[in-house]
């Protein structure tokens, strides 16, 4: 391949720029906003090298390797989700994640796929966040089942999502959705909140 010297890259644009630029209150105290992703990669390990690759990732970012496909592990800068037995989705607060990992993982051990612009992350926080998501997500989002720091990969209105209950706020979720679905997901979310708040019963259900 022909490679030349790189120039500074402009900021990427939001897939939701046409509908929102900041936090939106969906119901009383329940807000949603895009939480930009600086970088995101998929790290896959070959069958005989999973332990080694995961260990390398752990050492590279100084994090514990996720033990299962439910609990994330991370640091201030990096969150690692084990999205499949031999695959990690690593989300970084800083760019250049890809080059860091490509340098660490040999091709004979695994692969690193650049996915930094493939997903949109939404932060849904406030009372009723789990109830609102339960309008679409066929997984139990109760805190006893999905405690802070854990995640679930599921589907909402036919759109694949990863739902991560974050510890930063009392009832808050980061939702990762494929970029091409972001507008439809936003529409589903706002429409569901609108319907849920149309009657006292609907509002009460969110407030439970």
């Amino acid at each position: 391949m022909t490679r030349r010297e790189k120039k500074p890259v402009p900021d990427p644009r939001s897939a939701l720029a046409s509908v929102t630029t900041g936090a939106i209150e969906l119901a009383a105290g329940l807000t949603c906003k895009e939480s930009p992703i600086a970088d995101l990669v998929m790290v896959s390990a070959w069958r005989d090298a999973a332990a080694k690759v995961f260990d390398l990732v752990g050492k590279t970012f100084n994090i514990d390797v996720p033990e299962d496909c439910k609990a994330e592990s991370g640091s201030d800068q990096v969150t690692a989700f084990r999205v499949a037995p031999r695959r990690l989705m690593i989300v970084s607060g800083t760019p250049e994640l890809l080059s860091t990992l490509r340098g660490a993982i040999a091709e004979e051990e695994g692969a690193v796929s650049q996915q930094g612009r493939s997903r949109v992350r939404l932060r849904l926080s406030g009372p009723g966040a789990a109830a609102l998501l339960s309008r679409g997500a066929p997984v139990d989002l109760d805190e006893s089942v999905l405690p802070a720091g854990s995640f679930a990969q599921t589907c909402i209105h036919h759109m694949g999502v990863l739902i991560h209950r974050v510890a930063a706020e009392k009832e808050a979720f980061d939702i990762y959705v494929l970029r091409s679905f972001a507008l439809s997901f936003w529409q589903w979310l706002s429409e569901s909140a609108h319907i849920a708040t149309q009657t006292p019963q609907g509002a009460a259900a969110l407030a439970e």
Binding site: E5, P12, S113, Q201
Partner: protein, 1002 residues
């Protein structure tokens, strides 16, 4: 039509101080808060409520809940019209309007009641036998009139103004039914610590206990349980909510009615909520439904289930009759008789059994009831309501009424033929019922489905104490199965012991025949569908001896009540005809829904534009801002064309296609499926999935590839670029992306787990534009970039990585239009900026915005295969791509592609079509036939795609034509069977433009 009010003071659980106004058939009436429409109608003296489905017979209120077969009404008007609603399940609200259906000109005088006079000709199967000729299409003609003559209410075609939502719920223990067993089960499961959901279809908890006189021990017990449950943090009570379906792995469909009990306001409301509930354990405490006994005239208004009459009295404070006959074969109806006598009615209880239960009988007689043991009601009479019954001695052996009998005047006949446990949810899920001879009904088997338990009268325990104890045990058992338990030393929770009269065994009585043993006329089994005992006999005579066939032939057990009062009786009568026992006859399959569910609730807000999610490319907003018209292509929204003022789609795409071949155009191809393929074995992997070879593809080069399915048919095509030694970038078709990705993962995980290869979808990661046309290089070279777009540096099928306008890009020199072209990829967040940069530079190069309509037209001109040719029924050779197939390696589909039928020379092959008359228009989907021949069947093939070609100067088509390549140079007829046109066309190669590909290599 109406009698004096039958509302009693001092009875019931309604709010006597709160009148509620409503209308029935336009007449203003008043009910009370807490009434159902049925109880309010009874309170207003209304007995005739509806006309029956087929014979238009007068019908009244028969039951008190979801088992009501008769009293179907249409609620409200306009967009909120709700037909076929059981009056027994509608809770009254101020302003409710209800009207009868299936009657004209009025309920009282219904012209179509003449059907009843001809009922002997309108038996089961009448329509099938009578209206099938003389031609095959005759039914279409008759159907219009038949639908007018028989049927139910009419749905509105207006948009539903209200909202519906869908919710997923989870719990450890779901208890279905809030009667004594359900309350006990929920309390005990909650005490043990399980997360409990208690579902009750009525507004109030208590179930059958609410049919007992108000203010007693039962009410105090209910209040205590409800208080406990409402207080508990681990309990959710869903009232006005029905579990309508039972599905796999402990999942259930529930519909919660949030607004159906209040007058709908002008604005839209959240009307219903559909729950998908997933429970680790489910306790069915769904009670039992009373069944009637069949005899002549048993459908008249004023014939009612005994438990319903008791409920109307004790719950709704309505005495449904003053001269009451109660006909029973079991103990439970004695309570009805006693309560009604105490409320002031003259009551005669007719018990088919020779000996009455002593305690219950004594209590009834003390209340003033006249008890006639060993007798039966042989016939009910009256015109629009019951006026008398014939009571006769009953012969238990033969099930016959002995002559002469005695006629007794009455205004209400209450029936109790026993009880059927409500086990629909268990049986929907595949549970097998067992017939209990003592109860003469079906009960749960000794082993039931995993995750289920059944408590209370649903389990064949009919006394209140048994229900409570059974509920408590099942509640604790379910909680324990989920890992919870009562704390050590927990007290037994107080039970409820009521004297509810279950002393002696019932006598199975299904039908009362005349003294000669014959069934009587107008003896109905399924009241909602007008299925009589003679229909069942006819079906049996005609060979419908299986329960399932009987159901379909007679329609018994179908419609909104799902035969809740009819099914077991029908099986018993079928058994009699077959000379078998009921278990030998078998059982029909139960399917959801248990009760009717509004389609709106199933849809939620997935209607209109929200019916499915759409996918958008990163440049969507740019296209909108620049005047693009959009089209839905599968799940993607794509820029279709960019009209100039006054242009329609036709004019715009032809202009765009024409101009592109002179200048340069850009089209958004971000929808292409993109797959990141990495690993030391990536080349071997590609060798196996593509028909052509990949090992020798140099880094920095792209190659067109085709995949086959295992059966040898073409699966998908696209271009794959080698980015580095072990890293490839695969593109697949927009439509095939998901299927290809799944298939590749399947292969790697199951067939070739030894390969060190990883595939990752990169469709959303990359935005892409295809820039093509003779001026492309001029345009791209004018944009600030470190990529050299010259022919030498980036030849045809070459690839480079670098930047354009400061954006990271991959440029691959490939083209779909046949012109000099490049696909430029950039991470999706920069897609719009890339589009802007190209557009900004384009003003100096006559840059054309191209929609996918023109893009498609250009591919037709160029003769590339696409989705309309890769149909799953075409081979490599069919598509003219046989030369691509490598013989030096194995690939998927290679062996089966050699099958004789797949290599036949007369297979339909990919060709071009040009009309002999340039003005003629070839239409997509047209059938191809020999010249001067009317096409037969599927003809010789068909047109897969068409477009107007500026290059050719006419419409052109691509097609699949039998032995097509050998026919090049000949003509065929292009036959459009829709518009009935025939166009002669030349058969050509599919490549109308630059067949040598010189433009693309320029």
């Amino acid at each position: 039509m109406a009698d004096a009010s039958t509302r009693l003071g001092g009875y019931g659980r309604i709010d006597h101080g709160k009148p509620v106004s409503f209308t029935f058939n336009g007449r203003k009436m008043t009910g009370r808060a807490g009434d159902t429409l049925a109880s309010a109608l009874l309170a207003n003296g209304i007995r005739l409520v509806a006309r029956s489905f087929k014979y238009h017979r007068p019908r009244g209120i028969y039951a008190m809940g979801v088992d009501e077969p008769n009293a179907l009404v249409t609620l409200n008007t306009g967009a909120r019209t709700e037909p076929n609603t059981q009056a027994t399940t509608v809770y009254l609200y101020e302003g409710l309007s209800a009207r009868s259906q299936n009657c004209w000109p009025s309920l009282g005088f219904d012209a179509m009641s003449i059907n009843d006079k001809f009922s002997r000709f309108l038996a089961a199967g009448f329509y099938y036998k009578t209206f099938m000729g003389p031609t095959r299409k005759s039914w279409m003609f008759y159907e219009h009139f038949i639908r007018k003559a028989a049927g139910m209410g009419e749905a509105t075609t207006l948009d539903d103004p209200d909202f519906y939502e869908k919710v997923h719920g989870f719990c450890d223990v779901m208890v279905v039914g809030g009667g004594p067993a359900g309350l006990s089960a929920a309390v005990n499961a909650a005490r043990a610590g399980a997360c409990v959901v208690l579902v009750e279809q009525s507004p109030d908890l208590g179930g059958g206990l609410l049919n007992m006189p108000a203010g007693g021990k039962a009410d105090r017990w209910i209040a205590k349980q409800v208080a406990f449950l409402r207080e508990a943090q681990n309990v959710r009570i869903l009232n006005r909510c029905s579990v309508f379906g039972s599905y796999d792995h402990g999942s259930f469909g529930l519909v919660e009615r949030l607004q159906d009990h209040v007058f709908p306001p002008q604005k839209a409301v959240l009307r219903q909520r559909m729950w998908t509930m997933r429970a680790r354990r489910t306790i069915l405490a769904t009670g039992a439904l009373e069944r009637p006994i069949v005899f002549g005239g048993n459908d008249l208004p004023g014939v009612m289930l005994a438990s319903a009459a008791r409920g109307y009295l004790n719950h709704f404070s309505v005495l449904a009759g003053r001269k009451v006959v109660v006909f029973t074969n079991n103990d439970s109806a004695y309570l009805t008789a006693s309560d009604m006598a105490q409320a002031g009615a003259a009551v005669t209880l007719v018990d088919a059994r020779p000996i009455s239960p002593s305690v219950a009988c004594a209590r009834a007689e003390k209340s003033g009831v006249t008890v006639r043991s060993g007798h039966a009601v042989a016939q009910a009479s009256g015109r629009k309501r019951i006026t008398s019954v014939k009571i006769a001695q009953f012969d238990c052996e033969n099930g016959t009424a002995r002559d002469p009998g005695k006629v007794m005047q009455c205004d209400l006949l209450c029936l109790s033929g026993g009880w059927n446990p409500t086990l629909h949810l268990l049986w929907q899920h595949g549970g097998k019922p067992v017939f209990d001879d003592a109860l003469a009904t079906f009960v749960p088997g000794a082993t039931i489905e995993d995750g289920f338990s059944v408590a209370g009268s649903a389990n064949g325990r009919y006394s209140t104490l048994d229900c409570v104890l059974d509920g408590q045990a099942k509640g604790l058992e379910a909680a324990q199965a989920c890992g919870f338990d009562l704390p050590d030393g927990s007290d037994d929770y107080p039970a409820l012991d009521l004297t509810d009269g279950w002393e002696t065994q019932l006598l199975p009585v299904w039908e009362v025949c005349d003294s000669a043993g014959k069934s009587q006329k107008k003896a109905f089994v399924d009241l909602q569908h007008d299925v009589s005992v003679s229909d069942l006999a006819l079906a049996h005579r005609e060979g419908y001896v299986s329960a399932e066939h009987l159901k379909r032939y007679t329609t018994l057990g179908m419609a909104s009540d799902q035969g809740k009062t009819a099914n077991v009786i029908a099986l018993a009568l079928l058994a009699k005809h077959r000379g078998q026992t009921i278990p030998e006859v078998g059982f029909t399959t139960f399917r959801p829904p248990f009760t009717p569910v509004a389609v709106g609730a199933l849809a939620g807000h997935e209607t209109g534009p929200n019916i499915e999610p759409r996918r958008h490319t990163p440049m969507r907003q740019w296209h909108l801002d620049n005047g693009a018209k959009f089209i839905e292509t599968g799940i993607w929204d794509r820029a279709w064309y960019y009209p100039k003022p006054g242009e329609d789609i036709e004019a715009a795409y032809i202009r765009e296609a024409r101009e592109l071949r002179k200048s340069v155009g850009v089209v958004d191809v971000s929808t292409l499926g993109k797959i990141d393929v990495q690993g030391p074995d990536a080349a071997e992997f590609l060798n196996r999935v593509y028909v052509n070879g990949w090992s020798k593809l140099p880094v920095g080069k792209a190659r067109y590839g085709v995949m086959l399915r295992e059966d040898g048919m073409v699966f998908d095509d696209g271009t794959t670029t080698r980015l580095s030694e072990h890293h490839y970038f695969m593109t697949v078709t927009t439509a095939g992306a998901g299927a290809v990705m799944s298939y590749l993962e399947f292969l790697l995980q199951t067939c070739w787990s030894d390969l060190k290869v990883e595939v990752t979808s990169a469709t959303d990661q990359w935005a892409a534009v295809a820039v093509s046309g003779p001026k492309t290089r001029d345009l791209l070279s004018s944009i600030d970039s470190d990529i050299d777009f010259s022919n030498e540096a980036l030849p045809f099928m070459g690839a480079a990585e670098g930047t354009m306008a400061g954006l990271p890009v991959r440029a691959i020199r490939i083209t779909f239009t046949g012109e000099l072209g490049y696909e430029i990829y950039t991470p999706a967040g920069f897609g719009e900026a890339l589009q802007e940069a190209i557009a900004a530079a384009g003003s100096a190069h006559d840059l054309l915005m191209l929609g996918i309509e023109a893009f498609g037209a250009l591919r037709v001109e160029k003769g590339h295969v696409a989705g309309s040719e890769i149909t799953g029924r075409t081979t490599l050779d069919d598509l003219g791509l046989a030369r691509m197939g490598s013989t030096n390696k194995h690939h998927i589909g290679q062996v089966l592609a050699r099958r004789e039928a797949l290599t036949s020379s007369d297979r339909q092959q990919f060709v071009g079509l040009r009309p002999v008359d340039p003005k003629a228009v070839i239409k997509g989907g047209s059938i191809l036939s020999e010249p001067d021949e009317t096409p037969k069947g599927h003809g010789l093939g068909y047109v897969t795609a068409m477009a107007f070609s500026p290059v050719v100067g006419s419409t052109i088509g691509l097609g699949l034509l039998s032995g097509g390549r050998a026919r090049i140079g000949s003509t065929v007829n292009v036959v459009d069977t829709v518009d009935d046109t025939i166009i002669p066309a030349h058969v050509t190669t599919p490549h109308f433009y630059d067949p040598e590909g010189e433009k693309a290599r320029a």
